[in-house]
């Protein structure tokens, strides 16, 4: 029993990201409305970001901003221990990923507006009917 609790505590963040990712992926594949698909796409991407942020977390460490006066004027005070600070690299990667996702979101939204202007609907089944009419 304690093993199971230990396993849950050790991994639950990874499992929750998988649940979120499945929700997003399901919305992207199975939803009928294009806007809903877009929202699903964003949920999918944020779930991946949650995964990366979870990678970066370290027990007993603080924000990746060096505290105190470590050599602000060219001299070095106390030595910096790596265990004191959270891993900054996943955060950097995820900043880039957020930017990429918002850029994709904007382009997709512009396309939705264009599709609506042409076909007056955003539902996939209605779009399919409109396309086969011609």
């Amino acid at each position: 029993m304690t093993e199971l609790v230990g396993l849950i505590v050790a991994k639950y963040n990874f499992w929750l990201y998988i649940i979120l990712m499945m929700i997003g992926l399901y919305a992207m594949i199975a939803k009928n409305n294009l806007m809903k698909k877009l929202v699903g796409m964003n949920i999918f991407q944020t779930a991946i970001i949650l995964f990366y942020v979870s990678i970066g977390y370290k027990h007993g460490a603080t924000l990746p901003i060096i505290q105190g006066d470590h050599g602000g004027h060219g001299t070095h005070g106390a030595v910096i221990h790596a265990a004191e600070y959270i891993n900054p690299l996943p955060h950097v990667l995820m900043l880039t990923a957020i930017v990429v996702s918002v850029a994709t979101f904007g382009v997709a939204m512009a396309l939705c507006v264009r599709v609506y202007r042409r076909y007056q609907t955003l539902e996939e089944d209605e779009l399919r009917i409109r396309l086969s009419e011609k």
Binding site: L34, Y52, A108
Partner: protein, 494 residues
Amino acid sequence: MNHMPAILVLAPLSGAFFSGLAAWIKPSFSYYIALAATLLSGVAATCVLGDVMAAGTVQYRMAGWAPPMGIELRIDSLNAMVLVLISAIAFLNLVASVRSVDREIPDRAPSFYVMYQLFVVGLLGVTATGDLFNLYVLIEITSLTSYTMIALGEEGRSHLAALNYIFIGVIGASFYLLGVGYLYITTGSLNMQDVAVILKQIPGSSSAVLTAFVLCILGVWIKMALFPLHVWLPNAYAFAPVGFARVVAPLMTKVMVYVMVRLMITVFGLDYVFNTLHLADIVVWLGVIAILAGAFMALFQTDLRKMLTYIIVCEIGYMVGGAWLGNTLGMAGAILHILNDALMTFALFLALGNIVYVRKQVAFSNLQGLFATMPWTMAGLVLAALSIIGVPPTCGFFSKWYLVLGAFEAGAYHFAAALIISSLVCAVLFFKVFEICFFEPMATSHGHHDYGGVVMTEAPVSMLVPLGLVSTAIVAAGVYAGTIVNTLILPFLQ
């Protein structure tokens, strides 16, 4: 210090922003800047190829940081070849597309050229980089620009095709990103060489590494449109504006094949892919299915453009299957086919662009009498078609030869059979087209057939010259196939 690897990527990047600014002074400036930028990157790529052949792998450390900390560009003989290919095709297509862009998107041509250069930046960057996450960012640039430019085509349908492509493309890119995440959590590094070194110390049975591999490869397959995942490709490429379809069709899928080869060889290592995992047989079967499905779906098309897009799906099967045969011959054939297929597809789409320019529609019913009215274009089309079918002096024959040899060595007779069947199907397809173009008479406006006094309505010279050059390159790549394999591909594989 040798800055050529950086200039290669930076020339079109800064060219893009300068063309955007110059368009406010005079719209035509942006085209000339784009031309100069792609030419410069072509020259840089050729220099890098020279350096690689003379001195081996070229490295360029961005911002001066040593590899695992910073990002490095790492160019060996495989990338160098692909880089030269990309920049040459991008330049030639830019020369060819000035007239068709003026016709198709007259009011926003400068923005088109800006996007075009960013697309080229993405492709060059994907090929040159030595960092896994950088690869993701550049794939996203490539995808974002191609979504946009595909949506510039035919009103309505092209937008839906682009949206469809966005949804599938984002799934693909996100899978790749997840795969990189699993790699990062197990190795702690993002540099390809570094990851490869650390992966050697991790037991091959690790489920995290397996998941990372499957996710990365799945993501790349979605992006390259391997058969069951190909649904976005035909519509996207068929409704895109011609000026863009001509560059995306030969390059996008091939660069993704390159990424797959790079992941297999450099990051995970062939030993892991073929000896630890037992997926190779399944993937070769997937390749076989892709070849046959692509070829047979192409048979049912009644539009030249749609038919060519399904031939692309078929060709992807060749490369994926060949790369997974598990021997040097198959891999060499797959890599050689990246080069050859890019050239052949480019020639086909150039010819297609010329026909579209003159005839507007390319349904089979609109193709009558093309041999008489557009002889030069048709000469190029015939040569490219012969190469797709695999007739000896052209380059298509040699890569198929390597693939078939590899298939026999691996005992994958089904793959060899699929190659031969698809060649036959392609022959049927193209001779059907040529029959219409050659024998069916032109219907004139009077309703009766007019046999005398055919007027030549050939495409402009700026569109014919690139086609001529590429046709020469097809034959040259065929004649020098042995040299290419011996000097560029085999040294890389050893």
